[in-house]
Each structure stands twice: as C-alpha cells, then as structure tokens.
Subunit: 109 residues, 2 copies
DNA sequence: AACAAACATCGTAATATTGCGATAGATATG
DNA sequence: CATATCTATCGCAATATTACGATGTTTGTT
C-alpha cells in the first residue's frame, strides 16, 4: 500500500521519524553543513556548490524549511537561508535523548 | 528521476544520510525503543506490540539489520534481536558530531 | 516422517521521493 | 516600462518505500 500507518504509533515516534527523514538525504546534509560553514547563505551558492539543478535544491530547501530546521529571509532578489537555532537545539535534544536511552545495557545475545 | 545522485556527495554525507534513513520510520523507531526497553527481544513480540503484519515487521527488521543497528541470533524457532552496542555508539558519535558542528553560531537573519 | 511454530522472502499494489525542464513570480537595474 | 536575476512552483518520469498476503525455510515436537 505504501502508506505509513502513523496512527498506530505515538506522536513522539512519528515526530522522531519525521526529524530523521528531514535529514535522510545527502543533499540536505550537504545543505545544512554548507549553511553551518558559511554562517549564512543564499540559494544560488548551493546550486553551484552541489551538483544539482536549481529546482531540485529549491525542493530540498523547502523540506528543510517544513521541518523547521532552516528559515529564509528575502534579501533583494535572492533569499538568505540560515539554520533556526531554536529548532536545531530541539533536534539536538531529541536525538540525544533517543541515543542516551540505550546506554549501560548489556548485549543479550 | 527518483535516483539519488550519491556520487556528487562525500562518503560521510552519504553515510550520515543513510543512518538517518535507517531511523526515518516510526515503526523502526518503535522497534528500537522496544528492544531497548526489553533489553532482548524476539520478533513475535513486535508483531503483537506494533500493529503491523509479520511480513512488514520482518522487512523493517531487515533494514535495521542492514544498517548494522541490530543483530539477530537464532534461538530455536524464533530469532532474538538486539541492538549492536558498537554500531549504536558509532551512530551516537556521528550524530553528536553533526549536531555539535552548529553550536556557538549567531543567527545571521 | 508429519506437523506446527517462527521468521524470511516473493510478488504486488499503493504511495512517496527524487530530479529536472519549463514556467511563473518577485525584485532589482537600465 | 523592459529586461535580467533569483527563487518557487508545476508537471512529469524514474525510482524507492511501505504494507501485506502467500509461500518458503528452518527448527522443534509428536
């Protein structure tokens, strides 16, 4: 069927999966890393930096925007994209919590 | 076209995206959390626990296995799945590194 | 050997994602 | 106003993912 049965999972599980999904593509990883390195960025840079078409980059930016990870402010004819520090911290915290949950457990088999 | 152009990204970026992808589904999040809570598990449990068909659970387990996150040892007619502590640590470290990269940066816009 | 139990795999249908050309919209610049 | 530049959106094709019934495989039981 291809449709994820999100109703059988908890909100937290669905959100966690959505956060992972937002970063589950090398282009989006690359975009985030580029934004971090530049500490500011416009879309045009990314089109040159990565080897993808402008429409494709724009699509990935939209997904990162929907995930809340980045925000874009219009700056003349271009758009300045940057990471939302607040959401970033939320992601960081959520991932930390997830990975800390399994800590001093012993392998059973 | 639907085919990710992995050749234009670095190995690290591709791996990071693959790690995210392995956990980018609520069922797989739920499976991992269940394994952590139980500190050991067989597949049958999961079929009852989650509301998915046995074939579907098996498929998700396979993906987690391919990602290296879990390992299964045959225990009679059932299979005991549990988290691989070594790979878990690698994931944890990779995610930490990724999220720490953006730390004391100021928002630019 | 025959049967049951627990998983894995196959095949298939439905939906989602990825990528890009074409085009539309907004804002500068001459 | 006309034009150029930058980005968003549309529409499409190719591929990937998700879900599950049916079937296969392995192991244990009688």
């Amino acid at each position: 069927m291809g449709l994820t049965k999100s109703e059988i999972f908890t909100d937290k599980q669905n959100k966690m999966a959505a956060m992972m999904k937002a970063l589950a593509h090398p282009a989006r990883i690359a975009i985030i890393q580029h934004l971090i390195k530049a500490d500011a960025c416009i879309c045009g840079d990314l089109v040159e930096e990565l080897g993808l078409a402008q429409a494709t980059i724009s699509q990935h930016l939209k997904e990162l925007k929907n995930a809340g990870l980045i925000q874009g402010t219009i700056e003349g004819t271009s758009v300045c994209y940057c990471i939302d520090p607040k959401v970033w911290k939320q992601y960081k915290a959520a991932f930390d919590t997830f990975f800390v949950a399994y800590d001093n457990k012993n392998p059973c088999c």
